[in-house]
């Protein structure tokens, strides 16, 4: 099994955290992982993108240029998703902010209202975690069953109170893509 995911959004949406938590969880589940953020002048509102691969085998190129799945967190990222998604791949769209679907009739488009679900749970900042739940359910690549211990080492102890909320967001994301 190899799942190559391209993640795109704007700075501040938690794209980097999403990618890191995805591979951290995958590693805990015994998979090989690579996470490569497109680094540069990072700033809130700027471009945030990452190549993320989880695999049961050794990972060759760490660059995702033909993605099995693409995460699109904002409208501006639709164009890159259209380019990077492989034929017949999956594009997960944050439908709270993305109002036009990627023009890829061959791809499976999955709508996840991440911001709306996150707001309902009480904090828009966990929209990325909603998306991670959806990505897990749709691809099956990472189960996220070790997420609680992953979050405990990922967050400093001052933020541990937020772990329950993050896990709830992941669960809601999974539910949002049922059926």
């Amino acid at each position: 099994m190899t799942e190559k995911t391209f993640m795109a959004g704007f700075g501040g949406q938690g794209i980097i955290s999403l990618g890191q938590l995805w591979v951290y969880s995958a590693m805990k589940e015994g998979l090989k992982v690579t996470f490569f953020p497109f680094y540069g002048a990072e700033k809130r509102g700027g471009i945030a993108r990452a190549s993320v691969i989880v695999s049961s085998d050794e990972i060759k190129s760490p660059l995702v240029t033909s993605a099995d799945s693409v995460v699109v967190m904002n409208q501006d990222s639709v164009e890159i998703a259209e380019k990077v998604c492989k034929k017949g791949g999956t594009i997960l769209v944050n439908s709270s902010l993305v109002k036009t679907d990627p023009a890829r009739p061959d791809a499976r488009i999955v709508h996840v209202p991440c911001n709306d679900i996150a707001l309902k749970l009480g904090d828009v900042r966990i929209a990325n975690m909603v998306m991670m739940g959806a990505l897990s359910k749709v691809t099956g690549a990472v189960k996220l069953d070790t997420l609680e211990s992953v979050l405990k080492s990922f967050f400093p102890s001052s933020k541990h109170a937020l772990i329950t909320l993050n896990i709830a967001a992941v669960e809601e994301g999974k539910k949002a893509v049922l059926g």
Binding site: Q20, V23, Y24, M27, K32, V33, T34, F35, F36, P37, Y39, G40, I59, K60, S61, P62, L63, T65, S66
Partner: protein
Amino acid sequence: MAEEIRLMKGNEAIGEAAVRAGCRAYFGYPITPQNELTAYMAKHMLAKGRIFIQAESEIAAINMVYGASSTGARAMTSSSSPGVSLKQEGISYLCGADLPAVIVNVARAGPGLGGISPGQGDYFQATRGGGHGDYYTIVLAPKGVQEAADLTYEAFSISEKWRVPVLVLADGLIGQMMEGVVFPEPIDPATLPRKDWAVGHVTEMHRPYNHVTSLNLEPDGLEAANRIRFERYGHIKEELVRYEEIDVDDADIVFVAYGTSARVCHGALEMARAAGMKVGLFRPITLWPFPSARLAGLAERGKRFLCVEMSMGQMVEDVRLAVNGKVPVYFYGRCGGNIPSQEEVFAEVKRLMAL
């Protein structure tokens, strides 16, 4: 005791490996894309009561390495391409004084200030010494986070064994990428043997003082020192050459690539094999000494080579020297901070297969 697998950036993994290797002194100056390495050392060297100095410049940092190394301490600096250019004078001095040191270049795209995206355009500088005078440095090229940690850890002992600085040549992708990594056992620097060539400790060791310098105004003396050093280079070429081969035996075309490019080529190799093409990969791990003899052997067997680099073509010259006109050596490169995709490398090998 087996260490736990950790998820780390390449830059941080290099830092942790250096700390574990018993690095006593780190001197650095910030530059993207290697900043996490300097930051990691600031935190962890000071926490262990070792020396960390953010120098006023790259030039100061490499000269601090010279000073620390003269005392026999394991010393290190790191930077990225423009910063490594600034260090070249100091590296030449280290070589002239036969001092060990570990220098990490998390390379970016050049020339000049260039860009901050990954590049492999520093190959010539790395493998031809880089500064003035007759010398080489040992150059190790990791392909990912685990190997970056392993080679950095080993770089200290290799450098001490040969009294030649070791350059770890990574690139921005390896520095910024996160992968799983397992570290070797930590070494307590206090347990490392004293160097009989180092300055200091004269009274307690009951020996005459040492003089560490690269200056030698007497031509015969300087020539002799250079000849002794080149004899050592000869032994290094015999003992240290390292490379990795994948599916080379039955291959018609063999990729030659190091670091990030080799990872991309491995992806292209899988695509080619799936399409029934006999393609292999030869990955030099030591860029100096270069695995010339092995490449020459493969050329004798009629393999053609496709050299893939994130540059306009630098290592390809060493491949051509190695095969000495016996077989075609092709080149495919991207630069400016672009990383070739496995799809475009596959397209190139497909085109060459049809020739």
